[in-house]
Symmetry: C2
Subunit: 345 residues, 2 copies
């Protein structure tokens, strides 16, 4: 969701980080990984182009010879890598044009299928790791949250053990992520991670839960009207956790392999992606069609897996209406937490 805006917001952080690293280390082959790259978002190659452009500028300033890049695009094995791979040729062409340099080296692009909650790369191999809007996804639904009943994520009415279980799963997963990457990233290497998060110190926060609150409202209505069995709803929970910058810092320091170099917390309106808004109409004329489309692309696989195909159309029709009503009342935003980490040693 809103990937393009996030990439723009975090551009300066990424540029600063990679420029510093490159100017100091100048590796023969610079290895970059994009974790959770997702085929649907072809922005994935956009990030890579941005990083390479920054390094190429630094390289020319320093008067260095041509540089080789090894680029790894990672996502789960079920991801559509074929589509990404078929766009690589045009990516390389536009990269060469963009950089406009005669002594541009080689950029080798690889696909890496697998979960980033396990090892993906050889020891001491990566120089720069990027991940955007992926790390809030947990490796599984937290265990022991049967009493989250009519909620589907941390809600104002969630019992404390549910909130704790969500945080514990995030801590476990994020620690595993850091521990795996600490083996793979060279000393001095850098990770820039953007995670959907929250500013509040409270684990329930409207800014990070409201999109799921609204979806839960729709699901509960559909239970009342007999579309969905109550028991089915009670066992459905979203495997996501939206951390605060403080929680990220805490877990990171506890794991111990990385130093926090930069932190940035930004917000993006739910409306940031709207294409249907016309300038001469009042603000209430937003359709929120694009917002719902984004949410659907994220939530549909989970919903289909749990409830089956048959409720989906009705569900998202209602969700669109619910979002539209909610948005006439107030402005809603997503919170992005971006951190730049440096591997110790």
């Amino acid at each position: 969701m809103q990937q393009k805006q996030v990439l723009l917001l975090t551009k300066s952080i990424k540029e600063k980080a990679i420029k510093e690293f490159y100017s100091k280390e100048r590796p023969t082959t610079l290895c970059i990984a994009d974790l959770g790259c997702s085929s649907a978002e072809l922005n994935t190659l956009g990030v890579v182009a941005e990083l390479i452009e920054t390094i190429e500028n630094a390289r020319q300033d320093l008067g260095n010879g041509s540089q080789e890049y090894q680029v790894y695009l990672n996502d789960l094995p079920g991801n559509d890598f074929n589509t990404i791979f078929r766009s690589i040729a045009s990516f390389e062409d536009s990269l060469k044009k963009q950089i406009g340099s005669n002594n541009f080296g080689h950029c080798f692009v690889n696909g890496v299928p697998g979960s980033f909650y396990g090892r993906l790369f050889p020891t001491n191999h990566l120089h720069f790791v990027h991940s955007s809007y992926s790390l809030m996804w947990l490796s599984q639904v937290p265990i022991g949250i049967e009493d989250n009943k009519e909620n589907i994520y941390i809600a104002s009415t969630s019992p404390p053990n549910v909130t704790e279980a969500y945080y514990d799963q995030f801590e476990k997963d994020f620690t595993m992520f850091l521990s795996c990457r600490s083996k793979e990233v060279v000393p001095g290497g850098i990770m820039v991670l953007t995670i959907l998060g929250r500013t509040s110190t409270e684990k329930y926060s409207k800014e990070s839960s409201y999109e799921w609150d609204l979806l839960a409202t729709v699901l509960n209505d559909m239970v009342l009207e007999g579309f969905i069995e109550e028991e089915k709803l009670h066992t459905f929970n979203i495997p996501q956790y939206t951390p605060s910058a403080e929680e990220i810092r805490f877990i990171m320091e506890k794991e111990g392999s990385f130093i926090l170099s930069q932190v940035d917390v930004s917000e993006i309106s739910w409306e940031a992606n709207e294409h249907y808004y016309k300038n001469d109409l009042p603000k209430t004329a937003f359709t929120h069609y694009d917002f719902v489309k984004c949410m659907r692309s994220v939530a549909e696989p989970l919903l289909v897996n749990h409830f089956g195909e048959s409720i989906i159309e009705e569900l998202f029709k209602r969700y669109l209406e619910t979002v539209q009503v909610a948005m006439t009342k107030e402005k809603n935003v997503f919170i992005n937490v971006t951190v730049s980490l440096t591997r110790k040693g």
Copy 2:
């Protein structure tokens, strides 16, 4: 075609080569590439498993600690990588079982989309390169073979300039392949290449052309009966060249980056893959259905691209009949040329 048999035939060559390399060099991360891996043939991961098993045995004999493997599966970007990637988890499981070692390290599998007639990997990166039944495919149909008319590959009636154009294209492509790999393979690194080839010194040889001769016969019949325009057939040629071991040696020495360590020429019957043969029937009861299926998987994309979809069913019905008649008269074989090359320096 007949990949399984070929992999078996060339097992000892591969084992000897990788064992020698590993015992001498013992790299921290051993980088293996399978070039032209093809999704349809899931044997591709079989080769990798075989290589890793050999190294693991050598490692245990030498008393070395656990070993990391970086495995690259390469094919053209249009290949179905999704299918390969979805089989990797089960590959890793069976690898661990097969090796049965508690201190098995990590095996990282990557997909590499691109043509091996260009650069695919960073400089000095690969330790072992494998390619089976891919290098006889040319980067394009040779130029200047308009007078190959009713033939579709080098045939007994092909004019000398056609034969030369085929060889020239192969020399150009294979030289490019060696030159790219010479940058990517570390000094002392090894390539084991199996190419569909021929034993004859003559560039036309029934053993390497007969499957295409028979296809040309069918196509010519279909021209006579009005299924295909004559002009269409005259401009159709298979972008393949089946070299002899001597030609491979000649080009290799001319390019100069590798030393020829082992050569093996073997033959595989067209019937090697037959599943439909029953032991209690006479030999003439072979259906050759599997042989034609293999040929179809290889030739269909080329044929569809040139003649359109509509002739395909009729074409392969006739091809099956033609092959069946041809095989009652004599035994036909494919020739495999396998070479093991060592990077100089």
